[in-house]
């Protein structure tokens, strides 16, 4: 489920006379934490629903068939199930009942928390088996099923002598499709993920194959950037099945350097110089000592660390190394023998991801590098007030902004998540130039322009999903 469904539901609920008196934020919190004592029964019923069936799909065609069943174009007979399963599926789906049957794609890994409104019956599609990865003959791009993990893509590209140019901000074992149907943030030092995403193969609500963007080249001068427009809420418009992403050549020299810093202020100053220098990097990741220990148990830590991915021709990298050492002069040490977490063996990477995934990550904070000391201080305040230890994962962009994902050692329970989210939001919003991005904050956001933009997207959803078969909105 996604932003638009949640937002439409909340708007519908707040229009209900019984709930008008409730403050919107309190209502969102009550919905999020499933506070059944406060919420009316019919809302509790909506929040309690589950998908009628979960189908593990193995091919595109199966996804298409499921959509056709959901939109009524095909009968469940054509699913080709044995008689027993057929009756089970029919009964479970509630076929013939007067209700929309939606198709829902479940992300492999959710960084923060699931959306508020769960699937309302219907078909949950488990896409983990849509995991094929085909690197084209020249190695310029890869066509990956949405269920393929980012790590598998990274390893497959390496085998073909190429590099995946985008990396997860929080090193969880994401499926590549989680960037479209979940909340995975993929990024690089040079560019957002969108630059590397050429096209998405998907099915629209009427069951037709729909390719957004192109597969071998980016889209320029071909009409609206529909792919970019729908990217962050894609599964609310279409059901994505595969993505075409750009790969880059693996340079002759690829290095991973880690600089240790004594404090955040020194790091912030160094980042200011780094981003002003015009040096190219694959990634520039920021970790505090706790996050580093999670990634590299037993490795020497420091209060704060900067991990740089460098790739280039030997002479260029030599020049870059000298310059970086000078730019990052405030660092207390540098190691060049710690391999990147991305290069770990798949099983190890997955285990590390599991460890990190147990932490409570309420959202992402983006700030100019200069605001980092203030920001870290606020994060510590949140950590203290919620009595949960903090680990910080972050990524720097060429533009001079840093995105941080604070992770708290607290149980991933809805009330705790809501409390931490709210405290964090109230603290960081006061720092100039800082923005807090979380799914809950998206629901709190209520300024007129934001509402106007959401209104446009909701209208698009209603039209694009006119068969109401792709995560339909929930009427009250």
């Amino acid at each position: 489920m996604g932003l638009l469904v949640d937002r439409a539901f909340i708007d519908a609920v707040t229009a209900a006379p019984a709930l008008r008196e409730m403050i919107r934020d309190s209502l969102i919190e009550a919905l999020f934490t499933r506070n059944d004592r406060v919420l009316p029964k019919d809302i509790v019923a909506v929040l309690s629903r589950e998908p009628s069936v979960t189908v593990k799909v193995k091919s595109d065609n199966e996804v298409q068939k499921l959509i056709r069943v959901a939109n009524g174009q095909e009968s469940t007979v054509t699913l080709g199930l044995p008689a027993e399963d057929y009756h089970y599926v029919r009964r479970q789906l509630g076929v013939s009942k007067d209700r929309d049957i939606g198709v829902y794609v479940r992300p492999r890994v959710v960084t923060t928390h699931p959306w508020i409104v769960p699937p309302q019956g219907g078909i949950e599609v488990d896409v983990r088996d849509l995991s094929s990865i085909v690197v084209d003959a020249k190695g310029n791009r890869a066509l990956a099923g949405v269920g393929a993990t980012w790590k598998a893509l990274y390893d497959e590209a390496a085998r073909a002598g190429r590099l995946v140019p985008f990396f997860p901000l929080v090193p969880l074992d994401y499926a590549i499709g989680d960037a479209l149907v979940g909340d995975a943030v993929l990024h690089s030092y040079a560019a957002p993920f969108r630059r590397y995403l050429y096209g998405v193969r998907s099915f629209a609500s009427h069951g037709q194959r729909t390719r957004l963007g192109f597969e071998e080249v980016p889209n320029h001068g071909t009409g609206y950037d529909a792919l970019g427009l729908l990217q962050n809420s894609m599964s609310e418009f279409v059901v994505p099945v595969a993505m075409s992403v750009a790969l880059i050549p693996r340079a002759r020299v690829v290095k991973n350097w880690v600089y240790q810093f004594p404090d955040v202020a020194t790091l912030a100053a160094a980042l200011g110089k780094l981003t002003a220098s015009g040096r190219s990097l694959l990634y520039a990741n920021v970790y505090d000592g706790a996050a580093w220990a999670l990634l590299h148990p037993g490795a020497p830590a420091a209060p704060i660390l900067l991990e740089l991915g460098i790739a280039g021709a030997p002479t260029v990298v030599t020049a870059r190394e000298k310059a970086l050492d000078t730019l990052l002069a405030g660092s207390t040490g540098k190691t060049s023998d710690t391999p990147s977490a991305y290069d770990a063996e798949a099983r190890v990477y997955s285990r590390t991801g599991d460890r990190i995934g147990r932490l409570l990550i309420p959202g992402y904070v983006t700030a100019p590098a200069t605001a980092l000391p203030d920001l870290f201080a606020k994060l510590m305040e949140v950590s203290d007030s919620s009595t949960a230890n903090l680990a910080v994962f972050g990524a720097v962009r060429r533009t001079g902004t840093v995105s941080l994902a604070p992770a708290f050692a607290a149980p991933k329970e809805a009330p705790k998540m809501a409390a931490v989210s709210r405290t964090l939001w109230s603290k960081v919003e006061r720092i100039p130039g800082v923005s807090y991005l979380s799914r809950l904050a998206e629901l709190w956001a209520d300024d007129a322009m934001y509402r106007a933009r959401l209104g446009v997207l909701l209208r698009l959803k209603d039209e694009i999903d006119s068969a109401r078969a792709v995560e339909p909105t929930v009427p009250m």
Binding site: R195, T210, V217, H220, G223, G228, L229, V238, G278
Partner: protein
């Protein structure tokens, strides 16, 4: 529809008499963009606007849009008029909104390296302004001196610097736009890292060609000014000899700012106009920018790479003027009555195939075409094919068949033509196939009354508002150009404006 005199008076009430025009000569000037079209096209489209409006503020734009809705006239936004597909040319007259007077730089934030600028400012002026403040506008169009900020974004901009820094999408943090309802919206939250922003409408306007709203101002991300910028030029025997250069550069571990391949035909055409310019030859122009030490190291690596491909390095006396002339690629316009430029993107690995197929196409259509190419990213190359067209000659306009055929070559090789507008909208369905409905939905939801630059991109309207003849089906438009290609092939002689002594392709 209201009486035009009454409409004029109402428009004068909105903008004042000096910024509304219905002067025939002025309207004629606005009836075309950089594309050449035969006069015959006037039978099909009413390309001359009824009024030209020159707003200065977003409120004025909003009032114009609301008025257009009331009056029933279509409204067509226009930037620098450097488009190649009629995106800013009316098809049923109406109000043409020239945004070039909206060129104010509203604010510069040196700390965050952002600039807020009105949409009508030319890219070159903004790049110069950024440079004067110690910053760098990393991506600019080939037509930067005239092309406006909003216009190029709406065209789906990719250009100089894209190879390293991406396209116009990556520059734009936030925009202010007037929707067809007259509502003024901000398309994103400028403080958010847009790679993860929800409800970000910036992409809807990228490539929209003014069909869903009028962009009035933008917040752009700038970068620090690079320490050094070094242009390099390498000569090849002919274009075929340079066929592997784009893929080799893209596949290297170097990070050029810009890499372009120039056709000997192009240089011959330039020489025909400017006798003191470079002799015809195939040129590979590469530019590195960044820290001085890395630029020097990259230059040496590039020299070795191109030498391996058989290229010969030329001196700075060639490379520097090539770089300085990067915005002035088409002086050959003066040779003939018209010059047609068509653009497409190809996978870089198919560049040699593109050369082969285009060469075959040129011979079949008896045409002389120049191809200028540049790397869009590590995997793609943009090709600008251009030819001279004398629309006064009876068979001159038949050369437009090349535009269709070249687009087909792009599709066949895994790429796509660039630009839809009015003249090449027939490619739309072929481009997006099953996703066409989504694009049409974007238009119909944002402009349900079809008033904002209507009848383009997703459909082609004619000048006639009558059933059956009001729309040209894309297949018919494409078929017409196919017929033109067949007729063109019957021509006994080839068009040859310049002779190339190096042997050409």
């Amino acid at each position: 529809m209201a009486n035009l005199d009454y409409t004029f008076r109402r428009l004068v009430n909105i903008l004042g008499p000096e910024r509304i025009s219905r002067d025939p000569m002025e309207r004629l000037i606005y009836s075309h963009d950089a594309a050449s079209l035969p006069k015959l096209a006037l039978l099909q489209w009413k390309m001359i606007p009824d009024f030209v409006a020159i707003p200065k503020t977003v409120e004025e734009v909003s009032r114009l849009v609301q008025f257009a809705f009331e009056s029933g006239l279509p409204i067509v936004p226009r930037g620098g008029g450097t488009g190649l597909v009629g995106g800013a040319v009316p098809n049923r007259g109406g109000i043409l909104v020239d945004l070039r007077r909206m060129d104010r730089v509203e604010s510069v934030d040196a700390e965050r390296r952002t600039v807020r600028v009105q949409a009508g400012r030319p890219w070159k002026e903004l790049a110069d302004l950024a440079a004067s403040r110690g910053m760098f506008l990393p991506v600019v169009p080939l037509g930067a001196p005239a092309s406006t900020i909003g216009g190029w974004y709406a065209k789906g901009g990719v250009g100089i610097g894209s190879c390293k820094y991406g396209d116009a999408r990556e520059l734009v943090l936030d925009m202010e736009a007037v929707l067809p309802s007259g509502e003024i919206v901000r398309t994103a939250d400028r403080t958010v890292d847009l790679s993860v922003a929800y409800a970000n409408l910036n992409p809807a306007f990228f490539g929209s060609e003014g069909t869903i709203g009028i962009i009035t101002s933008l917040t752009l991300q700038l970068l620090p000014k690079p320490e050094a910028l070094t242009p390099l030029s390498y000569s090849f025997k002919d274009l075929w000899a340079a066929r592997d250069a784009p893929a080799a550069i893209a596949d290297s571990d170097l990070d050029p700012y810009h890499a372009a391949v120039m056709d000997p035909t192009h240089l011959a055409l330039v020489k025909a106009v400017r006798p003191d310019s470079l002799d015809p030859q195939a040129l590979v122009n590469v530019v590195f920018e960044g820290p001085k030490d890395e630029v020097i190291a990259s230059e040496k690596e590039m020299d070795a790479l191109v030498a391996g491909l058989g290229g010969k390095k030329l001196g700075e006396d060639v490379a520097r003027p090539q770089w300085e002339g990067r915005f002035d690629l088409y002086p050959a316009r003066r040779i003939s009555g018209g010059l047609v430029i068509t653009e497409a993107e190809f996978p870089v690995s198919r560049f040699p195939d593109m050369l082969k197929r285009t060469s075959r196409l040129m011979h079949r259509l008896r045409m002389q075409v120049a191809l200028n190419s540049f790397l869009v990213d590590r995997n793609s190359v943009a090709v600008e094919a251009y030819f001279l067209m004398d629309e006064q000659k009876p068979l001159g306009p038949l050369t437009l068949a090349f535009v269709k055929k070249f687009g087909d070559v792009a599709f066949a090789l895994g790429g796509h033509p660039r630009g839809l507008g009015l003249f090449t909208a027939f490619n739309f369905r072929k481009m997006h196939k099953g996703a066409t409905g989504i694009y049409e939905t974007v238009k119909s939801q944002l402009d349900p009354h079809r008033k904002m630059n209507p009848g383009k991109m997703t459909e082609v309207w004619t000048r006639y508002d009558l059933p059956i003849v009001n729309v040209i089906p894309p297949e018919v438009m494409g078929f017409g150009l196919e017929v033109a290609a067949v007729v063109r092939r019957l021509k006994p002689t080839s068009d040859r404006y310049v002779t190339i002594e190096t042997g050409g392709r």
